[in-house]
Symmetry: C2
Subunit: 583 residues, 2 copies
């Protein structure tokens, strides 16, 4: 595809950019195949705003001519027709009127609402130019073809495409856990993605379960997601496994190999726990449509625990409601609190953290292995296993460890980023597979960070950056829905890796937590509703607090640089640590 | 009165103290006329808890004997009877039973809920001892006689009773504002408290209004609270005055002197504003019962603005609901947010800040003088005028300036602390004059501090300390309801002054904001509901966050001490400033 087809107006002068917390500025707007670029033309200043079109969730157009005839269109994509009508109407109007002046004197405003909740507004002189720009944005922000997306074009001058892509892999993970090798093995049964399309080529499974058995188990689990190990708890030798639901169906079908696999996983222990992120009612309903759960009689060593977690559409609607509430400028305190409550977002945060806490308790305190799944095993399952690992494992709480965890548990484990993050809270497009599960994870991690400001090696800025990158990125990391899709598109050969980029020295300074102090202890989050707060840094980023946050991050970086050079500042650093607790 | 009459058991050994966030500890409990003292008897530790009985809002007793016969009594004061019955019953039971053992084996638990929301629990061996202690607490925590209260007995070894009591006074305030002297004078018309029982002996009034006229105006204003100057805005020469409502009544009575006084206050300006903290409907209703408001025809240069603020009982009930919600450990997120909303506390915070903002806008932006009152002029009136001064006046934002402001606008201006702070959120005593107006002020100041962490010269710790001191104190500052009452009791001669104590070097280090940066600018708070937060440091002080807060305060002090010695730490200090923004 030629991007230029979709760009009728590539440059507009005299555009006014308005952003919350910034004074308006006047400059030149350019649109390219992947970016919107605004350059301030005032002398002495050099403000540039570069926005990935992919980050745009929705636009609102309002065009106005000299007679004050004004129209507002909301939403991208669907309103193509009406824009054309308007344009035609305007021409008619101008022709029927008395001069060209009306057209040249008319102007338009485009409000751009980004997937990461940034909002900006452009006042564009000339109705036609405005509508051209709007149309280009509408088309180019919604390109379906992954290989046309910007990560395939992004070639920063200071980095070559990496030889080694990524930080972690099941192979690396396995080789790091020598203690496992007696009882667990690395299987490449999925090397051609035939056994499970959403799994990576290698997975960790019990040693005495061979590949033939795995293939049978895969047929018994939704989407082929048979139980695999995702975490080994060194302190007591227990593990976390994840999978999808078993396809027992209404007839309570059995799969001996599945039973053997689970039994092998807890060999030498009296029992294991299954944490099902559905209510028992939901699990029962699922069995009516081919899904199901492990019966007590066939899996006698396993104890099932049900914790209902919201997923899919409900979660997306919760996000939309929350963002709508946050953007409402006119409501009073009661209305705000009531809308916050109605959005249910904080309830989802609470449920996720408490279910992860339950999982961590089973492993760390109760000393038993756990299998976790919901239905497909690609969403809430990953959320819970990731949070539990953060709670228990000191290495996962370092910057590298956290990024490697995300790579293993989300990217490689097959969270369908492309489907889930296709739209965010502003789009009026019909909901399909969108769901802010990864955003919910980031929010939960932020709650951990707030409650244990010294225990995490990374900063809030990292979480904010990840929230943006998941929706629109220069990097290939969050593209596609599975390892297989990435492989087909040659993602490793043709794009840069975000996680590697975040570990380069400059970024590391940015995203490290200078207050970090290693602790071996588990960090048990309080899940009392009073202990959980709205993630203002993300959801209220349009408010003045957000600017403070950016300044804080800037200062953290400065301090880290300073500390590198200045040894005795450490005593003052102790003081700084305490400050960050006061939130 | 002899305190010893009320103390049947003065010492109990083997008491277990339980406090949130602390491990239980075992030690000796002593009760004196004013204090509960717990001393840890473990070797090597020296934990002592000293609690002013006056700080106790409610106690709950639960006594239990060996057969598990258990009773819970809630509340102090009213349940005297039932305690005695229980005691009798227990004796009967013991006598009817088979040994003394049952009595000696029985034990009791007293849960103490403090006015400043601290909660602690004492397990006391011996039912009788437990009930004796409980009864002593019930009696001694509710003493009515001011002169028997602890401030009259408090004689710290490191300080003599001060020669000069307090930081500020109308006289001092007047003498500091030379620019005023042309048009305003200090009147001692109230030197014998005859004109206005709740005013101090000296007040600032327009120069051409003589004392005879003031006496007439006083008769026209509720409780004699005629309009007096409380703030002079140097930038533009406008002033804030406060008073009580005019007693126009249903017949629209006039008072020429009142009209002249107000006219004199805005001499040379085209108009002034009256901010009435009642709705116009409420003002109208008040006129039916003898109160009222300034009619447009008689006060043609004054524009009335109504902003309804909750007061009295409604505010107290709001506090009770909020504290109840904060203490509820079992509720889910929806219930918490819904209870938070239902308590309306944050709405009151919002209304107070926005009304203060309105007042400050009239003065600073619109350049006109303002008279503010509600009905009595002792509660919301003071709240609004104090907050507006903090918004506009850089000096009021320093530690000294803030304390002096509180002294002038609350203590001397006649906020009835004794009535308003008789009980807090836990007491089940029938509500009389209690109302947490001063606490609401502290909360609003905390919101300012959160939004402008560099602009206030004092720390959150000061606000927490003041919240405690207002309810129970070693100092005489918050005793009584008026200057007159304090004078009669010889408060200045017989008690120490809190505000002076808070400025001694050690306390100053504790309560200063090391991040403070002087700014001449007004600090306009955002009153969007999204911008206001629950004051967790106070309302959730039982949760782990509270402990973090204490550590933070400790560190602030350490850093201040360090900074005194270490010049180059200033650059790091810059960084620290930014941290505190990240809240």
């Amino acid at each position: 595809m030629e991007f230029s087809e979709h760009i009728k107006t590539a440059n507009v002068e005299d555009v006014v950019l308005r952003q919350p917390l910034h004074p308006p500025s006047r400059g030149t707007l350019c649109i390219t195949g992947h970016h919107l670029l605004f350059s301030d033309r005032e002398e002495g200043s050099s403000r540039q705003v570069l926005l990935l079109l992919r980050n745009i969730d929705a636009i609102e157009k309002s065009v106005e001519n000299l007679l004050g005839y004004s129209c507002v269109f909301t939403n991208a994509g669907n309103s193509q027709k009406s824009v054309e009508n308007l344009l035609a109407d305007s021409f008619l109007f101008a022709n029927a009127g008395n001069s060209q002046k009306r057209i040249s004197g008319s102007s338009g405003t485009i409000t751009i609402k980004c997937k990461d909740l940034h909002v900006l507004q452009l006042d564009i002189p000339g109705m036609e130019q405005c509508l051209n720009i709007a149309r280009s944005i509408e088309t180019l922000s919604c390109l379906d073809s992954v290989s046309e997306m910007y990560p395939f074009f992004y070639r920063p001058s200071d980095a070559n495409l990496p030889d080694q892509w990524g930080l972690s892999s099941p192979e690396k993970h396995y080789s790091q856990m020598k203690e496992l090798h007696d009882r667990w093995r690395l299987s490449t049964v999925n090397r051609d993605y035939l056994v499970c399309p959403s799994y990576p080529p290698a997975v960790i499974v019990p040693k005495n379960i061979d590949d033939d058995m795995l293939e049978k188990v895969a047929k018994f689990r939704q989407g082929g997601r048979f139980p695999v190990l995702c975490y080994y708890h060194r302190k007591n030798g227990t593990v976390i496994m994840r999978s999808s639901q078993p396809l027992t169906g209404a007839n309570r079908k059995r799969c001996r190999e599945d039973e053997q696999l689970l039994q092998a996983a807890i060999e030498g222990s009296d029992k294991g726990y299954i944490i099902d992120t559905r209510s028992s009612q939901q699990a029962l309903q699922a069995s009516m449509t081919g899904g199901g759960f492990e019966s007590k009689s066939c899996y006698s060593s396993w104890k099932r625990l049900h914790r209902q977690m919201e997923r899919g559409k409900a979660l997306q609607e919760s996000l939309i409601k929350l963002v709508e509430a946050c953007g409402d400028e006119y409501h009073n305190m009661d209305r705000w609190l009531s809308k916050l409550e109605n959005s249910k977002w904080l309830s989802h945060v609470q449920t996720a953290l408490s279910t992860a806490g339950l999982l961590a308790e089973c492993v760390e305190r109760d000393g038993h292995s756990v299998l976790v799944y919901g239905s497909e095993g690609k969403d809430s399952t990953l959320l819970i296993s990731t949070l539990a690992q953060l709670i228990m494992d000191p290495y996962c709480r370092t910057l590298e460890g956290f990024l490697a965890l995300l790579e293993r548990e989300w990217v490689q484990a097959g969270h369908p980023f492309q489907q889930r993050c296709a739209h965010s809270a502003y789009s009026h497009a019909r909901l399909q597979q969108e769901s802010p599960v990864f955003l919910l994870l980031l929010d939960c991690v932020w709650q951990l960070w707030r409650q244990f400001p010294l225990a995490l090696g990374f900063s809030e800025a990292l979480l904010l950056r990840l929230a943006t990158e998941a929706y629109a990125s220069n990097y290939g990391t969050f593209l596609c829905n599975s390892h297989q899709e990435r492989c087909v598109l040659g993602l490793k050969e043709n794009t840069h890796c975000l996680f590697q980029a975040l570990l380069r020295p400059r970024e590391r300074d940015c995203y490290s937590n200078p207050l970090y102090e290693h602790t071996e202890l588990a960090i048990w989050p309080s899940v009392h509703p009073q202990s959980l707060q709205l993630w203002r840094g993300f959801f209220l980023r349009r408010t003045p607090q957000a600017r403070h946050l950016e300044e804080v991050q800037e200062e953290i970086r400065n301090m880290v640089i300073k500390w590198g050079k200045q040894a005795d500042a450490l005593s003052v650093c102790e003081g700084v640590k305490m400050f960050s607790l006061n939130m």
